[in-house]
Symmetry: C2
Subunit: 257 residues, 2 copies
DNA sequence: CGTGAGGTTGAAACCACTCAAGAAGGGTGG
DNA sequence: CCACCCTTCTTGAGTGGTTTCAACCTCACG
């Protein structure tokens, strides 16, 4: 962003309210009444966009804000005790980053932009105050935090029980769904993260991820050119991801393993 | 516990308030003022104790309450899409169960007592109302939910990056710390879960867990007799778990795997 | 047009799994 | 009170999915 028109962009950002935001149905405003928007908007900040690799925050930073990704994407990376790192999640527009910091007022992981990314910053203390006055906002905040737990549980089940192939398929399947939810094409998109990032996230070696992509492409499930991905057979991908059949769960009960 | 005095015990339970509870510093009351206890206590319910194997709730049950373990222990088990299951956590006294259900008003997993277990049941809708009036309760609720995310992140890092041996060591290390926190001995305790449960939780085969226990015992790190465990060398266990040295993190930075 | 980060692919090694048999408690009924 | 059974756990042998190591490729960029 050229420094010359930064204040112009800032003004535009500030002017663009939650009420007008295309992500409002995914984000905190979901469910709150129109009359209540100003109370929420009063606390939302819009920092300058991040370039690829820029940190949103680092592990151990004091916790001030939670962040909503507005455009672009972010990865959250936790340092492990032995000096290694584990990627906890990739966050696309409408998703919230920093919730793990509520627990002890310090960020638990680094959050890094994977590409040009803009976010909303919401001072958490103020959000708590506002949400105490707006039950529907409080409810939505709790939903969003809980959703993070559910996401982690899915990730956990993948790492604990699934093969490398299933993990990658599930990763792509989930990502496609989330992108669709955020208003993007679920069948054709660009992966903003490297193979190494994907491997780290899925508990796999870089080389394994690469091999699996090649396999999926050979099998005609996807087409992949570098980071550009097209899902050719969504059903086959769902199948590989462990989603046997159409409806969620219900189906395969009774055949152990 | 003889059935004859069950009603007496029930009365005792009802009478025993949060203000008197030995777990109050771990639980929701942490940080709230004495004058505020009655508002919290008014919504807390104390169901009859559970026997080993009894469900606290099942996946897909409508979400009404969150539960605090008062004594005993609980496992939470999520069904996976392919008909398998993944144990998400073991919950000991002072820990809260059911937070993943906030996201969509249905429980996401089964919660099963691992032994004779008593819990407090807290209607979540009412808790939200009370916490909107008591900022310190609201804060603590958020802390507790966020702590669940942090726990899951630790679990994720274990499944993603650590070897079988490290995972088991970390599991025992964490469990010891949590037990200490809850007022039990951190070096000598009974595992309320089976080897199979531990394996499921850690993404390992039952046989692997059993072998690793034998190894740890041979190496003199622990003594184990069936489910009775004594940690002989806590430092060695911490080392194996990936906690190199004393202080959290900081140490091994600069040697990139 | 050279350079380097990011990605692909092969070969060999290894960790953890599966299969399987046997041991050790803990409970139950005779 | 003992014998039996069933669940839980231990331990061995062989297999296999993933990793590691390493060479090569290929874009993007200066």
């Amino acid at each position: 962003m050229p420094p010359t028109d930064s204040h112009v962009l800032d003004l535009q950002s500030l002017r663009r309210s939650c009420a007008d935001c295309s992500l409002r149905l995914l984000c905190l405003p979901a469910g709150i009444g129109y009359g209540e928007f100003p109370q929420l908007e009063a606390v939302v900040r819009k920092p300058a966009p991040l370039k690829r690799g820029d940190p949103l925050f680092h592990a151990n930073d004091p916790f001030e804000h939670i962040y909503v990704v507005r455009s672009g994407s972010v990865k959250t990376v936790a340092p492990t005790y032995d000096g290694d790192t584990q990627i906890m999640g990739f966050h696309i527009p409408g998703e919230i980053v920093g919730l793990d910091a509520i627990s002890n007022d310090r960020h638990q992981c680094d959050a890094l932009a994977l590409e040009r990314t803009s976010v909303c910053a919401i001072p958490f203390a103020q959000l708590e105050q506002v949400s105490a006055r707006l039950p529907s906002l409080q409810r939505q905040l709790h939903r969003i935090i809980s959703r993070e737990i559910v996401h982690d549980h899915g990730h956990l089940a993948a790492l604990g029980r699934q093969t490398a192939r299933e993990r990658l398929a599930l990763f792509l399947f989930n990502l496609a769904h989330r992108l669709e939810n955020a208003g993007y094409s679920p069948t054709e998109f660009r992966l903003s993260m490297s193979r190494e990032d994907i491997g780290n996230y899925l508990g796999l070696a870089l080389a394994t991820v690469s091999r699996l992509f090649s396999q999926l492409a050979e099998d005609g499930v996807v087409e992949i050119d570098r980071r550009q991905l097209r899902i050719v057979q969504p059903d086959a991908l769902a199948q590989l991801a462990g989603h046997h059949g159409g409806t969620t769960c219900e189906r395969k009960r009774g055949d152990a393993v």
